[in-house]
Symmetry: C2
Subunit: 190 residues, 2 copies
DNA sequence: ATTGACCTGTGACAATCGTCACAATCGCAC
DNA sequence: GTGCGATTGTGACGATTGTCACAGGTCAAT
């Protein structure tokens, strides 16, 4: 398994010594996922961070039987469910592969047992938590600041890779509209 | 100035020794605010956390000349603009007193200068950051999970003090609707 | 008591969105 | 090529919301 992405992704969060990076690398476990295979299911307790090496992860929840997407996490980025993580409550979210993927799993239970008070690890985890929460907040601000059409054009401008890798049906729920409405928003753009 | 609220609010975030709490207390500066007086203005760089001792703080941003409320922070709770804080970018939010208030200000510039590598302070700040971000995420989930009417009923059930202390006009923008729509939602509840 | 500022409710109308139904297109296995 | 499933576009209709306008109520200062 190639650890280049792993090392540079860790270094991006916490600019620390090579030894500390090696220590963090040793905490990560790689896993292959088929499309649709879950890392975290609704009802599970989240105790891990996930780093995407290849493919992407889709985070969604179940609203009256309908899946609603909250985030798509691509290569080199981390995801977790901090709410479940911090409150130690069962997750109401599911995190699963959106296509055949490879991820690195940082399990906090094993990390804490092995390197309990190691400052590099605790610092890394807290920085990562803040990073993940700020990324989630950016998505939230879409809903608070923009109308559905404005949200789509924001993505079109600021995150065009989403349009290339995600189906429009998946994107619709991410933008908080039905796929029909998204289709009409796109029709008016021409 | 009464420091009881200050001490217990700090202890709630970081369960640490009395000395560390005393250290953190010494970092806080009290300030009185008139209604509408701002602590953080749009364009400012946010370098502080605010703890409400009395009254409440209203966090809002300007959408095409219209103020949109993002949060109301009451006695014993903290607020900040983490996005500006972490990215060191000018704030697009304003934090101001919603009624005559007393707040404790934790200025990170002065704290960092005095106690740079003190573990109790850095731990406290990071925990606080995560706490504030998770609180913000709870408000965000209202928008992603519920319709406007469901949002109002959620507040009615889970945060009734908001209805008692905030005018309906202020609440409307917090729920992402106009005051007329909120008025109609309330009318249908009877 | 009167004024004026602010808040809340409500009616009329237009715009937007969701729902349901069905057609068109695309990709892929056979 | 053929067939099938998944995806996307579109039309019709109802429900919800925003906008604009105005009425009534509350409260504090004069």
């Amino acid at each position: 398994m190639n650890q280049t992405t792993l090392q540079s992704s860790i270094a991006q969060i916490s600019k620390t010594s090579d030894e500390d990076i090696a220590l963090l690398v040793s905490c990560a476990v790689a896993r292959k996922l088929k499309k649709g295979e879950p890392l975290l299911k609704e009802g599970d307790l989240c105790r891990s961070f996930y780093l995407v090496e290849k493919g992407y992860l889709r985070t969604w929840y179940n609203k009256n039987g309908v899946p609603i997407n909250l985030s798509f996490t691509f290569e080199g980025h981390f995801i977790s469910n901090l709410k479940s993580f911090k409150s130690r409550q069962p997750s109401d979210l599911t995190i699963e592969a959106g296509e055949p993927s490879v991820v690195w799993i940082f399990d906090l239970n094993t990390m804490a047992a092995t390197y309990k008070a190691h400052p590099a690890i605790t610092l890394f985890v807290r920085r990562l938590a803040i990073r993940v929460l700020l990324a989630s907040e950016e998505h939230s601000s879409l809903f608070k600041m923009y109308t559905p059409a404005e949200r789509y054009h924001y993505i079109e401008k600021n995150n065009p890779q989403l349009l290339q890798r995600i189906s429009l049906s998946q994107l619709a729920s991410y933008l908080g509209v039905t796929r029909e409405t998204l289709s009409r928003i796109r029709a008016k753009s021409n």
